[in-house]
Amino acid sequence: MAHTQEHHHEHHKETFISKYIFSMDHKMIAKQYLITGMIMALIAALLSLLFRLQLGWPENTFPWLETLLGDWGKGGRLDPNFYLALVTLHGTLMVFFVLTAGLSGTFSNLLIPLQIGARDMASPFLNMVSYWLFFCSSVIMLISLFIESGPASAGWTIYPPLSALPQAIPGSGLGMTLWLISMTLFIASSLMGSLNYITTILNLRTPGMRMTRMPLTIWSFLTTSILGVLSFPVLLAAAVLLIFDRSFGTSFYLSDIFIAGEVLNRNGGSPILFQHLFWFLGHPEVYIVLMPALGITSEVIATNARKPIFGYRAMIGSLIGISVLSFVVWGHHMFITGMNPFLGNVFMILTLIIAVPSAVKTFNYLATLWRGNIRFTPAMLFAIGLVSLFISGGLTGLYLGNAALDINLHDTYFVVAHFHLVMGSAAMFGMLAGVYHWYPRMFGTLMNEKLGYLHFWLTFAAVYMVFFPMHFMGLDGVPRRYYNFTGFEWMQEWGDLNKFISISAILGTAAQLIFIWNFYYSIKKGKKSPQNPWQSNTLEWTAPIEERMHGNWPGDIPHVHRWPYDYSVPGAPQDFIPQTVKDDDLPEEIRQGKVKPAPEHAGTPASETVADKLLFSRFINLFGFKKA
């Protein structure tokens, strides 16, 4: 037990700073990401309530707005420029800071080493730097809320010319500069994280953990990181050109422009070029947001349905399929930029093909639930909620992916409805499912279930009440990003619906306070969790949750002998067989194949299947990652 002693030794050396602040322990870094992400989410939600107030009650004045916002709320009315700033920061914070860094950062950090049986990340140091860069970029982004000219206001997609000409609108000045600095740090942080995740997954798996025995969470973190490594640098390239346009007089994105009757000395630029570069990141980015949530859902659904995940290999295949396709569909955001119709058709067909792997995942979730012995924990409810949102938001993607229809729907509330359901809410549900499920792994205690149910049902109702009606507004042609709709006769009929949406949004946000209270209260006061609270097969539950040590396991790292989804195996003593159990330890009749261990696993308990040999092992040996 030399290891145990070694650990006690390490324990004494740790100071407050090395343990809680500049920690290199992946579990602590995960918590740092989670808490930062939650704070950013709360701020982003409050920003959205401010602009929902404007959309719901465009004619009213709210004196307290002036107290709160000063000049931005003069006379109790929200300033139109600040409205744009709010929309921009809400989108930026949610997409990047909450659903990219908060989601991937938390669960990749927490689960990768624990679920593949590693002591820590490949480079714990880089991991720490990655968090602190994220922290700095968050602070800079928030500071931009407090400067006189206001934060960036060109939308989360920062299209030029609003982003490229510092004199265009108030938010184009210092606010935009801070946005660019913050995002540059963010990209660096995200790259460091992703490089570390990929390296760890491919190199530090414990003996027996073949690629085809990894939990689907790990597969989703792997494909997510690969997308990040390939697409974020392109956003960086786009941002560099933008910075040169802003500060050094180049004209990459700017062509003959008049401002206040004056011709600017720019020529030959193309704002469409920015859109190409942006969406080359932007589309993969939406899957960077969604895929970790899908991985979490796979894990939570299989565990709580007490069934092997349906179509394990198909799940991996669809993750890979989605990843590859997501690089060749960016044009569907640009159908109305006057692109060559032939090119538009190519993008349209490729876009619609994405529906195939997406549908594979959906049906596999449903098939896993089918006749399962379901435990409706709060995590399970959020996972099922994700499936629901993925379906209702994904279906509208098919409308938007159709170029002829998109010409009408582009930049309307239909798009807003689409991506808030399929990306915003679905990924948020995945994240919440993950928090409820792995909370005991992080804090050693359980969250309150009753509050969890209350939180789920209020949130579930609220997201549909807020986003579903937006489809109808969009079909009617109501444009997104407008400050108010009172000036147009035909849009006024939507006024009452806008009020309804705003009220629902306030209720939905209020429901999150239940969650936040539950989260903080349970850290100290929650019920103590058993070692393996959900009777799960994966390795993270073999590491002691009482004493969360750096290095994860007091003794040797666990070895793996099976895939992670052996639930409800007929003839087994329990309804789950952890990955660490050897075949020799199983009852006779399972071993002799009289009873099949599990449908998906049939015939392959100990030996590798042909596909495994051909596809993964060979491929992996090719690159020199010997499995032990």
């Binding site: 790259l191 392109v234 070029l273 010997k626």
Partner: protein, 193 residues
């Protein structure tokens, strides 16, 4: 390089590629993607017309030669480190360093040649692209030079030898990568301009 948590001594496995080196390769993929973004932007923009054609500055030939020579010197240095020829390692590093600085100098020379024929950063996008892309490449070269200086300092503390090759190995790989990247960029400009 940075310490690795990874397996304990008893759990040490033989890796065909050490994790930290693997990380380096993945990093180079992402650096390449920056330039893939730039060069595809270049192609897209060129397709729009209003594109000024010009002959590339001759200094680029010099920088290409220097970058190739520096790669050879770097490789030689690495092989000397493997043989524990510490004196030669230091000499090799100095030579590589000078050639690397020479490369950066040659790029600056190229800029001045461009300015002399009236092609400025804020001119036609064809010129702006050339400036920006080569500038970002040069920034990477500077970072490699800094890494080399760090390794050079380690060599003086007898920290670079056949049992401790990872640092110099990573720098060598990155150095070659930047050389190859430059040749790609030069070829790209040559054929696309």
């Amino acid at each position: 390089m940075a310490e690795m948590a990874g397996p304990r001594r008893t759990e040490r496995r033989k890796f065909a590629v050490e994790p930290i080196e693997f990380l380096m390769w993945a990093f180079m993929v992402s650096v390449f993607m920056i330039f893939a973004g730039f060069t595809s932007g270049y192609i897209v923009r060129k397709g729009d017309g209003n594109w000024l054609a010009f002959t590339l500055p001759t200094a680029f030939l010099l920088s290409t030669a220097l970058v190739v020579l520096s790669s050879i010197a770097m490789q030689w240095t690495f092989s000397q480190a493997k043989k524990n020829e510490l004196g030669k390692v230091k000499t090799g590093m100095v030579i590589t360093l000078l050639l690397g600085l020479g490369f950066v100098g040659a790029q600056l020379l190229a800029y001045s040649q461009l300015v002399n024929i009236g092609l400025f950063l804020n001119g036609n996008p064809s010129v702006s692209f050339l400036y920006v892309i080569t500038f970002i490449h040069a920034l990477h070269m500077v970072s490699a030079i800094i890494a080399l200086i760090v390794i050079f300092a380690q060599a003086f503390r007898f920290q670079v030898h056949s049992k401790k090759l990872m640092g110099i190995r990573l720098v060598t790989i990155f150095w070659h990568f930047l050389g190859i990247l430059w040749i790609y960029l030069y070829g790209f400009f040559y054929f696309m301009n």
